[in-house]
């Protein structure tokens, strides 16, 4: 699965539109993930996961910042995300199935906030982008 030039354009223009809201959207996507897929909470026993939690918001911003980095390095995701890949493989060891769940909730969040821009083609490009990021983050698992 390769990001085409059109995909890259769609991804970058989406991120431009998101602007300063990326952090908020990251937090919202996490919130949606925890509520729709309660098994994902098992990775955060040390967090307050109630809606509006400051810890979830802060963590959402971390996730969003990493995605922003990824957007700036679409031609070289493995290199740009190498440290995060190590972290997920050797320390966090989040089961690969969960990346799909968070990716889905990121898409739902973007669809809610930017319904007009979230055309089928943009949706497809973003789905590919999150899949590509997920692949890199799980690439050193074994």
């Amino acid at each position: 699965m390769v990001l085409s030039p059109a995909d890259k354009t769609n991804i970058k223009s989406t991120w431009d539109k998101i602007g300063g809201h990326a952090g908020d959207y990251g937090g919202e996507a996490l919130d949606r993930t925890f509520q729709s897929f309660p098994t994902t909470k098992t990775y955060f026993p040390h967090f307050d996961l109630s809606p509006g939690s400051a810890q979830v918001k802060a963590h959402g911003k971390k996730v969003a910042d990493a995605l922003t980095t990824a957007v700036a390095h679409l031609d070289d995701l493995p290199s740009a995300l190498s440290a995060l890949s190590d972290l997920h493989a050797y320390k966090l060891r989040v089961d690969p199935v969960n990346f799909k769940l968070l990716s889905h909730c990121l898409l739902v969040t973007l669809a809610c906030h930017h319904p007009t821009e979230f055309t089928p083609a943009v949706h497809a490009s973003l789905d590919k982008f999150f899949t590509a990021v997920s692949t890199v983050l799980t690439s050193k698992y074994r």
Partner: protein, 147 residues
Amino acid sequence: MVHFTAEEKAAVISLWARVNVELVGGEVLGRLLVVYPWTQRFFDNFGNLSSESAIMGNPKVKAHGKKVLTSFGNAIKHMDDLKDTFAELSELHCDKLHVDPENFKLLGNMILIVLATHFSKEFTPQTQAAWQKLTTAVANALAHKYH
């Protein structure tokens, strides 16, 4: 058997009442075919599926999308009895249509995303969770008779 709380049922039913089944059905199926192009394998006789606009404007896609979503509406009337409600459709999808049940999950997620585009901030995390539970339960019911 999946148990839906009163709140979950209310969240699903109240949103469903405002869904234009014809419009949303077409969008849901269209997005499935655009975002996961391999799903087009089931629709060789649908004509032109060569681009996003061709797919989203294709009358057979819209008609079939409406059919699928109408069936989903039946699920909402039988949320306590999904396995029996979908038993025949499950056999059909296995024996005649040969659809990998993974596709039911993909379609379920498309339903959620289209609802998100239509209902925006009203599609709260709680509302999404109720609908997520329903689409998962319908997907499982449709897979139940596979052999």
